[in-house]
Symmetry: C2
Subunit: 416 residues, 2 copies
Amino acid sequence: MRRTNLFIKTLKNAPADEQAKNAQLLIRAGYVYKVMAGVYAYTPLGIRVVEKIKQIVREEMNAINGCELIMSALQRPDTWTGTGRWDDDVVDVWFKTHLKDGHEVGLAWSHEEAIIEMLKQHVNSYKDLPQSVYQFQTKFRNELRSKSGVMRGREFVMKDMYSVHATQEDMDKYYDTVIEAYKRVFDRLGIGNKTFVTFASGGAFTKFSHEFQTICEAGEDTLYTDEENTVAVNEEVLDDATQEIGIDKSTLKPVVSAEVGNIFKFGTEKSESMGFTYTDKDGMQKPIFLASYGIGVTRVMGVIAEMMSDEKGLVWHSNVAPYHVYLVAIGDISEHADMLYKELESNGIEVLYDDRDERPGTKFADAELMGIPIRLVLSQRTLDENNAEITYRQTGETTTVNLEEVATQIKDKIQL
Amino acid sequence: MRRTNLFIKTLKNAPADEQAKNAQLLIRAGYVYKVMAGVYAYTPLGIRVVEKIKQIVREEMNAINGCELIMSALQRPDTWTGTGRWDDDVVDVWFKTHLKDGHEVGLAWSHEEAIIEMLKQHVNSYKDLPQSVYQFQTKFRNELRSKSGVMRGREFVMKDMYSVHATQEDMDKYYDTVIEAYKRVFDRLGIGNKTFVTFASGGAFTKFSHEFQTICEAGEDTLYTDEENTVAVNEEVLDDATQEIGIDKSTLKPVVSAEVGNIFKFGTEKSESMGFTYTDKDGMQKPIFLASYGIGVTRVMGVIAEMMSDEKGLVWHSNVAPYHVYLVAIGDISEHADMLYKELESNGIEVLYDDRDERPGTKFADAELMGIPIRLVLSQRTLDENNAEITYRQTGETTTVNLEEVATQIKDKIQL
């Protein structure tokens, strides 16, 4: 992508009304545009990060037989009245509005009831089980306050998956499969080493659910971990969980963390309340076992922005960076730079080519603020030696590379 | 994809409350699930069609320097009050709701004002022009009635693009570029030969806008075309347009058609009303020229379903079909079928493999109802001759193909 074709401009200062570090950085670097508190638009840079996160999640969910679909935002009240969750006193984040004929409708803050209602029409027999379905969908939550940038929005993108099973054993087994898939997701997102499967409060069916908590100063949770980080417990269940595992809670230390995913076994509780049953081999009606699994996609983007940044700006992992390379040509050598740009792109390397009529220092500052993993500089001096200069955003390390080897070296570095 | 991994079931009969042929077919064949009138969820089959349509549009918009982004659904009133379009008497399809603090917000039925507001922050100089941005975004429209299935929803997916220019010449030139890109889109969607660039009513700036109208019985418009289909005019501007082109309107004949896209030059009208200006080379403030370009993504899916179907069900073009091949194994030969399934998939062919414990006739009926372009049948009989049987959904033609040549022949047919 040529920078002149990208309408966004970076900003020297964060907007005064934005308190969250993630949103300050993302706005300054041109990834998001603030529509109102908790509501953001994603620019051509921002949407690329969102889509890369989604694609990693998608690949891992497909690998465990998840089927992607997409539900609607608009919700009928009767989908939710059966479980009592249409009531604003029970769920206080509904946005509600009316059809022209006066009927009330809501905007989905979750899709649990909606997905079950749909599955009920299709899943009737043990032959239809198990199934696992997921979506990337905008959720709307009417939060009283919204000061955490893209980490807690009034409108945000979530991956929610639901699996249905004939038996508890089958559900338990799949639940464990999802835990492993989630670990792969967070590894690939570059935050695996800071993300923990954490004991959290359960429900009617299980004593505990599990959250995926990422150590992050901007988080809203407190996580208790041991020295070796082999155990992690959410503060809310510290006593119960340490007792269950059989460890001394004084050996655990608190750290601030942000929830990036959560997984939950409903067991048969929800299906019973919604009359969701299947016919077993003997013709008997049995309630279906259900579990659900969420990842906050735009929330993860905010968490990464919080964690992976320095005084110069963002520092994306190459798996989620909007572009792999920020290309800067110094001096009147655009013909050579154009050629290199095309060569890299034809190698599958994603290049943001700063072809603006600006000083190199301005371009370098943008490359750093935007957090593009590799800065590639071409000048008459490097050209005379048949070289280009590569600088890695994460380490600041600069190396000189022969022009013939630039593409290979970059592909190797970003593991393309 | 294995059919046992796909939760959906086809239905013999359309739901009683669904009047539109497109939705009846799409529901029966398992592509959509009706949430309420005008609101549909897209199953794993349906979302694949939607995504394929989007990808074709995306590639063509990127090819003319369009930059993808995504705006928010939630809208602040003051984005729209300046142009008078917050007013329910001016725009009668708003869904409106309230934040917890009492502030009113709306759900975007369009993003014209929102995109301009955002661009205003970034585009200030002639150096920043031109720009073209687009999104695939859910639009919410509080339609009084909604009886056209996915062709006119209360919640639907639209591609909307906006281009901004320093001069009218530049806008005009880009507008013509978009017309050509749209023609390529509808060609690739398989409806190019039935889709016409049509004169439609203009606005304050131009006498005419252009619609892309597809000949389709379920359409809501009447299109006037000549014998050779070189000219198309929307009924609403028949007199004016024929006069302008200099043809006798009696030479044009009416056909029923559905609008699948529309393009519109605002000129400087909208930017003037929103104070969107740029500084030219001489330091003068000038209003920006704006044009907008829409394609109804889910609407197009409905139009294709209406047009390309027969008494057995849907008939997708292979460019938009959820899968290229519907694989059926007859008899106890699953080992061979599994091998063929893997071989096809490794060749990039998308296969829906009906591995259910059902009669061949049931599977054949599903393949036809779902409209998968190629049905591939393997049986002991075909295996004995080292063959498989290919049936094309569109023509009904069946051929026998040597197993070694199946992948090549299919790739050739679907132009992979």
